[in-house]
């Protein structure tokens, strides 16, 4: 393909996530008046908050061309511990701090496995998924726990008329966005994801960068667990299940490339997370057959991944050297 012909395509594919989102809003908006009301929008945002936070962490890892499958299990383990402590009468802040600490610790183990022991991220975090879920079930003795009132109050509290979960998710997104776009670490992470070998040659501390990405992902899983807990008010043995898939999906829907080096937390990943919940919410409002939800969601994600692959293919073609000089 001629390079001058494929460049506009590349730009167009960059816009694909936003276009996908806009199409969805229009379609659902046309199907029901209730979809685009303030109340509904706030509800969707609250529902999306925990997924968004976990997906923000996942974006850091995906930027390095890795993956973290253990986030759901980490959420469960943290929630199990926090629930036990809360039922034993420990103060709320301490419980929440423990959840965050569990996330950071799990992230550190993942980082160790991937950087020092050089395991493939997929298999390392898959094993951590097993271990995390097993430990979580041990902690909870595979029983559901109903948490004390303060947890749910946290989820329904409002500040300046906006629910607390949205504030929390918004803060995480803002900080992550600034870190990725405005700090040396963030920019170097992009370089590492684009070409790890070149980054090493350029003198970047690739091991530390990679480790930081996994630790941040773990911390976000812990925070996401807190947000999910404040909505549900209970820890079931299924808590956090499939969150890893939702997080990857939200990132990819938002334009994060699975090939590394390309992705934005804002609007990208946030858009992706909101989109996931929107599909769900829109289908509910449009009274679609609930059993078709996963099929439709799957189709939307498929479209996003296909666009990402097309984009990668075109970018690779453009990178090829021309032999006959242009001028």
């Amino acid at each position: 393909m001629n390079s001058s012909a494929s460049k506009p395509w590349l730009r167009l594919l960059d816009l694909a996530p936003v276009a996908l989102f806009a199409v969805m809003l229009v379609v659902f908006g046309a199907m029901s008046d209730r979809f685009l009301t303030t109340g509904n929008i706030v509800q969707v945002l609250v529902q999306a908050s925990s997924t968004a936070v976990v997906a923000v962490g996942m974006t850091f890892v995906l930027l390095t061309a890795g993956v973290d499958l253990s986030v759901g299990a980490v959420m469960f383990l943290g929630a199990g511990l926090a629930g036990k402590m809360a039922l034993a009468g420990q103060p709320l802040p301490l419980c929440l701090a423990v959840m965050l600490a569990v996330g950071i610790a799990a992230g550190a183990v993942n980082a160790l496995l991937v950087t020092r022991l050089r395991l493939v991220p997929f298999i390392a975090t898959l094993a951590m998924l097993h271990i995390g879920r097993g430990t979580g079930r041990w902690v909870t003795q595979t029983r559901a726990m109903n948490l004390p009132e303060p947890f749910l109050l946290l989820g329904s509290a409002r500040w300046l008329g906006v629910p607390l979960p949205i504030w929390m998710a918004g803060t995480v997104v803002a900080v992550a966005h600034l870190v990725l776009t405005r700090t040396p670490f963030g920019r170097q992470l992009h370089a590492l994801g684009n070409d790890a070998e070149a980054a090493r040659k350029a003198g970047l501390p690739t091991g530390r960068l990679l480790a930081a990405a996994y630790i941040i992902c773990g911390a976000c899983a812990g925070l996401g667990g807190i947000l999910a807990l404040t909505q549900l008010g209970a820890v079931s043995p299924k808590f956090g299940e499939l969150y890893e898939f939702d997080a990857i999906t939200a990132s990819v829907l938002g334009g994060t490339s699975l090939f590394g080096g390309r992705g934005k937390v804002f609007p990208g990943t946030v858009l992706g997370a909101v989109m996931l919940k929107c599909i769900f919410n829109g289908l509910v409002i449009a009274r679609a057959d609930p059993y078709l939800y996963p099929v439709i969601t799957g189709a939307v994600i498929f479209a996003a991944v296909l666009l990402d692959s097309l984009r990668d293919g075109i970018a690779k073609k453009l990178a090829r050297r021309r032999i006959i000089p242009a001028g």
Binding site: H190, I323, I324
Partner: protein, 523 residues
């Protein structure tokens, strides 16, 4: 040798920004640099020329801290300089501008310039001071004359502007010594002029520069001094004004190494009266692909060894990939035995085509797989029985065993060993064996002896001749002029994706061949 170059050297002053003294370096017993000495003074541009394999890149890797010399010293501003890695080179104010640029296309110009140490905001916070980043970047871009917003992603820049960014990066790192390695390969003529103006400006600022290029006209025009390398030795050094194009070429190719190449007489039987008139086994007519090759036409006769020469990036390998169906071609036609050649590589292999690629590790071999599996891969299909394409592994082992002897693979290697454990020469013999098993009508060899010791080289040449004598057509693509001159019956020279010269054995003229590769055809 060293003494004689010292005598001829014009840059032996102690004030040299960089000085090489008696540098010796070898790889696994093969000497690459045999006592190289020369210096580069501040505010001077030294052109470093030589054929591929003369030792230029090894010299650069020594300076960059990627390799360490076996003997000899490098001095930087008169002090001994012993870099342990790229960081040391950077700290010593040495920067490289490579043919393949080391930029991250997903980041902006400014970010690429300051990736290692971004200007920080106040109070030791980890935020990038975006104002300072922009200001510093703009100052650097101004120095290199690139009128672009520093926030532009590098992937949106054309090749020439990326080159300027790379130079700005060197300046940003306070480089006092800059090495250019084939910087003009992918530049348009306008971009090239801009680069030259910039080099002149940097010289005025007292920066020492080494300029490596095959574009000899550019070297003579741009450089103050020229150093000619051949076979790891300095064979000529002096002021650029004391050289001309022809003298440089004859210094570069001067050597004769006859015993390496098996004897090859000028071929007469394809034109001899009474000989059976053989049609061409491969006909290529008018093959073009926008931006890659243009209007390629040639014929290959059975039993002929045809060389394709030219510089790296002249489009030779790309032509081979088109022949083999790995890349598309726009117009033109390829015929094998008079019939149109189409379809995927598998189909072309069945028709009698074979292709030894230049990237042995990436495209030639499955490095972790066994010798037997690699050698049999292209011909497995012929050792199967229906139903279910059952593999006759005894037959496979038998033919692979025979071929191992035919290509003289090291007897120490066992058939089940991973090819990763073999030396480069033996690995190449495995690839060659794979294709010889297919008994091809046309075999295309792309850089068949790159990185291979002399002994294996000579054995590979003999195998090529034996195959041609059995009636196959062979195409040998090589950057080493000596190689194509040594083993081919006929040589085509390519430049910028087009054929710019044709020579027959008996009429080989190295200087004219090199000229065809270097000089642009007059419009």
């Amino acid at each position: 040798m060293i003494a004689s170059t010292e005598d001829r050297g014009t840059t032996a002053e102690p004030s040299d920004a960089v000085r090489f003294d008696g540098i010796v370096k070898g790889f696994t017993g093969v000497p690459v640099l045999k006592g190289v000495s020369f210096g580069v003074a501040a505010g001077k541009v030294v052109g470093l020329v030589g054929e591929n394999g003369a030792g230029k890149s090894t010299l650069m890797n020594l300076l960059g801290g990627n390799l360490r010399p076996d003997a000899g010293t490098i001095r930087r501003d008169g002090r001994p300089y012993t870099p342990q890695g790229p960081d040391d080179a950077r700290a010593a104010g040495i920067a490289f501008v490579h043919q393949e640029l080391n930029l991250f296309p997903n980041l902006s110009i400014a970010e690429n310039l300051f990736l290692r140490d971004f200007p920080r905001g106040p109070g030791r916070l980890p935020w990038i001071d975006r104002g300072a980043l922009r200001a510093k970047s703009e100052a650097l871009l101004l120095q290199v004359g690139l009128d672009r917003d520093p926030a532009t992603p590098v992937e949106r820049l054309p090749a020439g502007e990326r080159q300027l960014v790379e130079i700005a990066k060197a300046l940003g790192a306070d480089a006092r010594v800059i090495l250019f390695d084939e910087p003009t390969t992918s530049l348009s003529s306008v971009e090239r002029e801009r680069l030259f103006a910039l080099v002149a400006k940097l010289r005025d600022r007292g920066i020492a520069m080494v300029y490596i290029s095959h574009a000899l006209g550019d070297v003579l025009r741009l450089c103050d001094d020229v150093v000619v390398l051949r076979d790891g030795e300095v064979v000529g050094a002096g002021a650029a004004t004391s050289f001309d194009h022809d003298r440089l070429v004859s210094l570069m190719v001067g050597r004769q190494l006859t015993q390496l190449y098996p004897e090859r007489l000028p071929r007469t039987h394809d034109v001899a009266p009474g000989a059976p008139v053989r049609g061409p086994v491969l006909e290529v007519s008018g093959v073009s692909q926008p931006g890659i090759v243009r209007d390629i036409s040639f014929q290959l006769v059975a039993g002929e060894v045809l060389g394709i020469s030219g510089l790296m990036g002249a489009g030779r390998s790309e032509l081979a990939r088109i022949l083999f169906g790995l890349d598309p071609h726009g117009t033109g036609e390829i015929r094998l035995d008079g019939e149109r050649l189409d379809g995927p590589p598998g189909e072309r292999i069945r028709r009698g085509l074979a292709f030894l690629t230049e990237d042995r590790r990436g495209e030639g071999l499955c490095m972790e797989a066994s010798i037997t599996d690699n050698m049999a891969l292209a011909t497995l299909r012929s050792h199967t029985r229906t139903p279910a394409r059952w593999l006759d592994s005894r037959a496979v082992d038998l033919v692979v065993g025979l071929m191992r002897d035919a290509v003289r693979l090291s007897p120490k290697a066992k058939g089940a060993d991973a090819v990763r454990t073999l030396s480069g020469g033996n690995q190449q013999k495995v690839v060659l064996g794979k294709w010889l098993l297919a008994a091809p009508k046309v075999l295309v060899l792309d850089e068949p002896t790159r990185g291979i010791d002399i002994g294996a080289k000579s054995e590979i040449y003999q195998l090529v001749h034996r195959l041609a004598d059995r009636g196959a057509g062979v195409i040998v693509i090589s950057s080493e002029l000596e190689e194509v001159v040594g083993i081919c019956d006929r040589v085509l020279v390519m430049r910028h994706g087009a054929i710019t010269g044709e020579f027959r054995r008996g009429g080989f003229d190295r200087e004219k061949m090199l000229a065809a590769a270097l000089v642009a055809p007059k419009p």
